[in-house]
């Protein structure tokens, strides 16, 4: 994060500098213009969407659609830096107790009403009341709007990571018209400020977005970046169609019934690559494939046993099965392209040494009791990873058994305090690692630490590192604290990150400038006639 920019609102200059390095943004002098306008794009989405209330939903399928409709004050760019979106800039007071946001001029909602600071106040009010990640605002004393273009947040205590939290796109604080502030949870009317507006939403079937003609692009940028930047709707409409069968998505893309799809099975990727009318777009680092031990329960409460399992794991086989051979080996909890990435603790990764595992196992005093691996069938990669992990554990003499439930059950079981029903829990961390180290490591901080310490009391050393990650005044110190925490977690075998999964998206060849990202972004995407 660039503190200078935050203080002085010198965003455009800095953004331009960082954009210059991006290969897809050659036209720096002039902002993006659509080479061609028009066209209706149909996108095959894998998961069903129940609600487009972006304030009360954390699911990816909701974000896929809703983030093309809504915008926030601040968001993240392509490289996960904080950038202004509806705000022109933000000024952080020297004592870090107030943040003053200047709003961009001429922004209007899809209902035609101009956006003012009153709407921002109302949005924050709704989020504080029912927003899913409202703990972001725990340390906030209040907010007010001294004039229609200014919004001020007052903090209780200085929190160096506040803007990082505020710009999170996990459950973002999207800006909605003031009159919608009392919409109940899951029922927010789909009116935002984004380049596309909602035309029709049929849960279970499709959502159709159309270009919002009065959209005013953010001229502080020249190109789309991350969730923000200079955005234009070139397409007339975008229809998200729910197509849960992977084969149906592939077939739909081949026949041209769909112009874009997500999550193509690897088995089909080869054929897709040979098809000249299809462009295959791998989205690297979609999630970190991971298993977590239950440290409240024997024998996974025993460090030597956990290390035995760690030594037994061969990540190539696990990731091959989990992702159908579309993965990168990856140490730890961040991806190499991220600023906070560190390989601290890499000695613990991919040891794949059965002899060492058996030695540790002997030291642990393991007596052949059954070890339950908790996984689910809703997410095939988790199930597949568990299957191979089981085989590798059995190979070193651990009586590993699978416990397969559906996702809600397995989440509930894994969150129970002092549970004795399972030993390893399989999951995939997607959004949080993409948001940075701070967002990711909260999975490993108590209360609720995913390695389930007894009575939910986290390991003191790990907790101390977590505290430093949150409170150290400089980014450098916070990054060091993260490296320390990652090393501790890996050395104490409190988590087994297997690697990062690649999710393959694809579009028809005539679809241009579609860059895979955390959501399918349709601004600045255009279709050749």
């Amino acid at each position: 994060m660039k503190r200078a920019f935050l203080r002085t609102c010198a965003a455009p200059a800095l953004m331009a500098a960082s954009l210059a390095a991006a290969p897809w943004a050659p036209a720096l002098a002039a902002p993006f213009t659509c080479p061609e306008r028009g066209g209706d794009l149909v996108f095959g989405q894998e998961a069903n969407v129940n609600s487009l209330d972006q304030m009360t939903s954390s699911t990816i399928s909701t974000r896929n659609i809703a983030m093309n409709i809504y915008e926030s004050l601040v968001t993240r760019d392509e490289n996960n830096n904080v950038i202004p979106e509806l705000a022109e800039g933000v000024e952080e007071a020297p004592d870090q107790l107030t943040y003053t946001f200047k709003l961009r001029q001429g922004i209007s909602f899809h209902n035609g009403k101009p956006m003012t600071s009153a709407d921002v106040v109302a949005s924050f009010d709704r989020y504080k009341k029912i927003g899913l990640q409202r703990s972001t605002l725990d340390n906030v004393k209040g907010w007010d709007a001294p004039d229609p273009n200014t919004f001020v947040i007052h903090m209780q205590r200085a929190q160096p990571t506040f803007l990082e939290a505020l710009s999170s796109f996990s459950v973002p604080i999207v800006i909605i018209p003031a009159e919608n502030k009392d919409d109940p949870p899951q029922q927010l009317k789909p009116v935002g400020t984004g380049p596309f507006r909602m035309a029709e939403f049929v849960p279970g079937s499709h959502a159709r977005l159309v270009r919002y003609d009065s959209y005013k692009p953010n001229t502080q940028f020249e190109q789309r970046t991350g969730f923000g930047g200079y955005k234009v709707a070139c397409l007339d409409s975008v229809t998200f169609r729910i197509v849960t069968e992977a084969s149906a998505r592939v077939a739909g893309l081949e026949t041209g019934e769909l112009q874009g799809v997500e999550d193509i099975p690897t088995k089909s990727v080869e054929a897709m690559r040979k098809n000249p009318s299809v462009t295959v777009l791998p989205l690297k680092n979609w999630w970190i494939q991971i298993a977590l031990p239950n440290t409240a329960h024997a024998p996974t409460d025993n460090l030597m046993f956990r290390k035995a399992v760690q030594a037994a794991l061969g990540m190539e086989d696990i990731m091959d099965a989990a992702t159908d051979n579309n993965y990168s080996l990856n140490v730890g909890f961040q991806y190499p392209n991220q600023p906070t990435y560190t390989d601290a603790g890499k000695e613990t990764y991919n040891i794949n040494d059965p002899d060492l595992a058996q030695k540790y196992l002997k030291e642990s005093g393991y007596k052949g009791e059954p070890i339950y691996i908790l996984t689910n069938r809703d997410y095939a990669p988790m199930y597949n990873a568990a299957l191979v992990m089981q085989q590798q554990m059995q190979a070193v003499g651990i009586k590993a058994e699978l416990k397969v439930t559906d996702w809600p059950t397995s989440v509930q079981m894994s969150q129970k305090v002092n549970s004795n029903e399972w030993h390893f829990f399989h999951s995939g961390w997607g959004t949080q690692p993409a948001l940075g180290a701070l967002a990711t490591m909260q999975f490993l901080a108590s209360p609720g630490a995913n390695y389930r310490p007894r009575d939910d009391k986290g390991d003191p050393e790990v907790e101390a590192a977590w505290s430093d990650m949150n409170t150290k005044p400089t980014q450098k110190e916070r990054n060091e604290a993260f490296a320390r925490m990652q090393k501790l977690v890996l050395e104490k075998a409190l988590a087994y990150p297997f690697g990062s999964l690649t999710k393959v998206q694809a579009v028809r060849a005539k679809v241009q400038n579609f860059e895979p990202f955390r959501i399918p972004r349709f601004s600045n995407v255009w279709m050749k006639k």
């Binding site: 069968e245 992977a246 084969s247 592939v250 077939a251 099975p265 088995k267 089909s268 054929a271 086989d317 091959d320 099965a321 159908d324 069938r377 809703d378 095939a380 199930y383 597949n384 299957l387 191979v388 085989q391 699978l402 416990k403 397969v404 439930t405 559906d406 059950t409």
Partner: protein
């Protein structure tokens, strides 16, 4: 999934009011069965599946759950007779062991129905006071769309082979009970039963000696169809991810795991699918044969 087991019977039964019928000597019935072409065809088809189920350990040499990533997506023919799936597991092994599971589940569901369906049906049909209560519960259970009830019960109990059997039991027992009850109500009013009552025979004795033996024929026919629906329903539940816990090789599980690859590796779903079809076909033919021979009032021709 369907509740079709009850269908042909009930529909026709309501039409053709039963008359007392002679009990066929065992051998005569058997001879007539073996002269029935459908029955024999069904017997052969189902016999093949039953043999696979019984002989599974001897006719497969690869553990159905053994992963072998090097051998994934091999088409049928070659080293693996029926090819391999996305984990390189032998489909021949998995389909054969799947047959075993299907047969076990079918037999168990049939047994549950034979016991509880008969019991509830007989009690409801014989004791008027129980009838109302039992049949109301029955009606309520039958009012659910069958598969949603099964989904709910398996979700409640957790996915496992035993729980699938229980779920299918809860779905089908009311249907069997209703058929038994219909026969018992008719038989109860028969002169010979009334005579036994007049002679002071106890309820239990009347039910056991005079009523149930004569209600057997429609029961047996119903149970043979039920076997088919149980196998079909189990596959459907597994396919929806609610059956036996993977990686247990059931046909539904194999097909569910293969559906992502049906475009490029269609054999993964085609092989268990065809096997499932053969099984159900065989059982339905068996059922038709049994119905024609055992329950002549349902027999329209031949």
């Amino acid at each position: 999934m369907s509740e079709t087991g009850a269908l042909p019977l009930e529909a026709i039964q309501s039409e053709a009011e039963p008359e007392p019928k002679r009990v066929h000597p065992f051998w005569m019935t058997l001879r007539r069965l073996f002269r029935h072409r459908l029955f024999v065809t069904g017997l052969i088809l189902f016999g093949i599946i039953a043999f696979m189920a019984a002989a599974a350990p001897w006719i497969t040499d690869i553990n159905p759950n053994r992963l072998s990533m090097r051998n994934k997506f091999l088409p049928p023919g070659g080293d693996f007779v029926l090819g391999t799936d996305n984990f390189g597991r032998s489909l021949w092994s998995r389909v054969v062991w799947g047959a075993r599971l299907s047969v076990i589940i079918g037999v168990s569901v049939v047994a549950l129905n034979a016991v509880f369906g008969t019991l509830i049906g007989a009690l409801a049909g014989y004791f008027r006071r129980l009838d109302n209560v039992l049949m109301r519960i029955n009606d309520a259970l039958m009012a659910f769309p069958a598969i949603l009830l099964a989904i709910g019960v398996t979700a409640m109990l957790g996915p496992s082979t035993a729980n699938v059997i229980i779920a299918l039991g809860i779905v089908y027992v009311p249907r069997t009970a209703r058929i038994v009850r219909a026969s018992v109500i008719v038989l109860r009013e028969m002169e010979y039963v009334q005579a036994a009552v007049a002679a002071g025979a106890g309820h239990w004795r009347i039910l056991r000696r005079h009523i149930l033996p004569n209600a057997m024929a429609p029961m047996i026919v119903q149970l043979s169809f039920l076997f088919a629906y149980a196998v079909l329903s189990e596959a459907t539940l597994s396919f929806l991810g609610l059956g036996a816990v993977p990686p247990t090789p059931t046909w539904g599980n194999i097909m569910a795991e293969g559906r992502d690859f049906m475009r490029d590796a269609p054999w993964i779903i085609a092989i268990p699918g065809v096997t499932l079809m053969i099984t159900v076909l065989g059982l339905n033919m068996l059922g038709d044969g049994l119905r024609d021979v055992l329950d002549p009032r349902l027999r329209i021709q031949q």
